[in-house]
């Protein structure tokens, strides 16, 4: 080997050495980087699994994992508490938890889980370890492995026993309420029948007394007989009104679109309006949703009240309406005798007639108030004695 050759080889070796050193350094750096990355990953993994573990342990709802045969693999604390089983010590299959009447529903939902990969809002009863029955709400889904093969199923189970019981209780109460309303209505009819029958009999007997003794009765006796008949009429009217009042609260389900303009103009044409009284509407009345018979009764009572209490030579009744957002505000204004301030509240209470007369039993305005309230409205009035009264009321659109 010549000197030249040796030098060349030595230089080459030197370069190799340097290159290797550089490579080693890079490798070391890479290793270090890799080490850190893997540590970071591990940390992340730890973090994620502890997060999951936390979710698993801390969610209020029960969390259940089962294998594809329905054997329970995992229960969180809430699930253990709900079902009462300790799955570390005993094996449990979901089939045994299903309430027998809900079995079919459970199978249908399970098949849905298999075909769609999930089911939602399953609501049924389950047995606990102590054979207690509980209502549960379940959302479930299938767990797949990395090759998309199903390996297990998981479900979030919420105990809705209390909610269901309340719901059942509510339904029971509602149907009970409906029944007792019907009974009350029936009762009102029977009472009114039983009260009216004797009145009719008295009326007949008094008529016969009069008929049979028409020649021997003096003027005063005839007048008294007439008073008996008037009293009987008033009594009967009272019974009819009480029955009507008790009927107002019932069957509120009858809600339809009502053309108030048509209703009121029809009402005005059938009501007895003396010639000296004029009834006018300032605006076209709107359509509202409500009960036709009751709304008719409402306007009829207010308009005939206005007619009844007009004492002026020329009477006017003015009906108007105003749009106030969710409601309409109606007004019925008369130039009658007026009502003193101290009675403004009282007149809406049952049996508070201010004027004792044959044709006012003191129930009319209490019925009016009840009807307005049924249509989610309010009623009030403005009045000046001897000048007139304006009744205002609102009805929901």
């Amino acid at each position: 080997m010549s000197q030249d050759q040796v030098e060349i080889l030595q230089r080459a070796l030197k370069r190799e050495k340097a290159a290797r050193k550089a490579a080693e350094k890079i490798l070391e750096e890479k290793s270090r980087e890799l080490y850190f990355t893997s540590q970071k990953l591990e940390q992340l993994l730890d973090e994620k699994s502890s997060q999951l573990q936390g979710v698993f342990e801390n969610i209020i709802d029960a969390y259940v994992v089962m294998d594809l045969q329905g054997n329970i693999i995992k229960f969180n604390e809430a699930a253990t508490k709900l079902f009462g089983f300790d799955i570390e010590r005993e094996s449990v299959n979901v089939i045994n938890l299903i309430y027998k009447e809900d079995y079919e529903y459970a199978i249908t939902s399970f098949m849905q889980l298999q075909s769609n990969g999930y089911f939602k809002d399953y609501e049924a009863r389950v047995y606990t370890k102590s054979k207690e029955v509980k209502w549960v709400h379940i959302n479930a889904s299938v767990i797949f492995d990395k090759d998309k093969n199903p390996v297990a199923a998981q479900g979030i189970v919420r105990d809705i026993t209390e909610f269901k019981n309340l719901e059942i209780q509510k339904e029971k109460l509602l149907s009970k309420l409906e029944k007792s309303n019907d009974e009350l209505q029936e009762y009102a009819h029977i009472v009114s029948h039983d009260l009216k029958s004797p009145l009719r009999s008295i009326h007949a007997l008094v008529s016969w007394l009069k008929e049979d003794n028409i020649n021997s009765l003096d003027k005063a006796s005839l007048k008294n007989i007439e008073l008996i008949e008037l009293t009987l009429e008033k009594m009967e009217q009272l019974i009819t009104d009480v029955l009507n009042y008790s009927s107002v609260g019932s069957d509120t389900s009858l809600r339809e679109e009502i053309d108030l303009n048509g209703l009121v103009s029809q009402l005005v044409s059938i009501l007895y309006v003396p010639e000296n009284i004029e009834i006018k509407s300032l605006n076209i009345l709107p359509n509202i949703t409500g009960d036709k018979t009751k709304l008719q009764q409402l306007f009829q009572n207010l308009i005939s009240n206005a007619i009844k209490f007009i004492d002026k030579e020329k009477g006017t009744i003015i009906i108007d309406v105003e749009d106030v957002n969710s409601h309409y505000k109606f007004s019925i204004k008369d130039n009658g005798i007026g009502i003193e301030k101290q009675f403004h509240e009282k007149i809406f209470k049952i049996f508070h007639s201010l004027k004792k007369s044959k044709d006012s039993t003191g129930i009319g305005l209490s019925i009016v108030k009840k009807i307005v309230n049924l249509h989610e409205g309010e009623i009030w009035l403005d009045s000046e004695p001897n000048v007139g009264t304006t009744f205002y009321f609102t009805l929901k659109k």
Binding site: H189, L199, S201, L232, E233
Partner: protein, 137 residues
């Protein structure tokens, strides 16, 4: 031609029975009234198929068998179901009214408070049935 009617009145109230009798004599009508104080008594009377009434006036509110129950029995009987039955009652209960027409009645008359009004209603009712052709046995 005005027919002389044979009327079966089913009514538990004594004064109501007096009212109908007095009304018929006051109006000088020639109808025959058979009284039954309740549904059971009426059914006994109706057992005699050779002397059935032309029309029945039926009160709804009665002890034992009430008016609607009685009406059901009547309408389920092949012979008796043809007798026109008019309800005479205090009840203006919409439920009763519907039920009666559903089972099948020939009329539904509310007993008014005033005796004069009662006389007028009975007068019209009997006048109407007097000019009707009725199934005679």
């Amino acid at each position: 031609m005005v027919t002389k009617l044979k009327i079966l009145l089913i009514e538990d109230d004594m004064i109501e029975i007096m009212k109908l009798n007095r009304t018929i004599s006051k109006l000088e009508l020639n109808h025959e009234i058979i009284e039954a104080n309740n549904g059971e008594e009426a059914l006994q009377i109706l057992e005699k198929k050779d002397s059935l009434p032309d029309i029945i006036l039926l009160d709804l509110n009665m002890p034992k068998i009430n008016g609607i129950e009685f009406l059901n029995i009547l309408k389920n009987n092949d012979v008796l179901k043809y007798i026109p039955t008019v309800i005479l009652t205090t009840s203006n209960n919409q439920k009763d009214l519907l039920e009666c027409y559903k089972i099948g009645v020939a009329g539904y008359v509310i007993k008014p408070l005033k005796y004069e009004d009662y006389v007028s209603k009975i007068d019209k009712l009997l006048a109407y049935w007097s000019i009707n052709e009725l199934i005679k046995v």
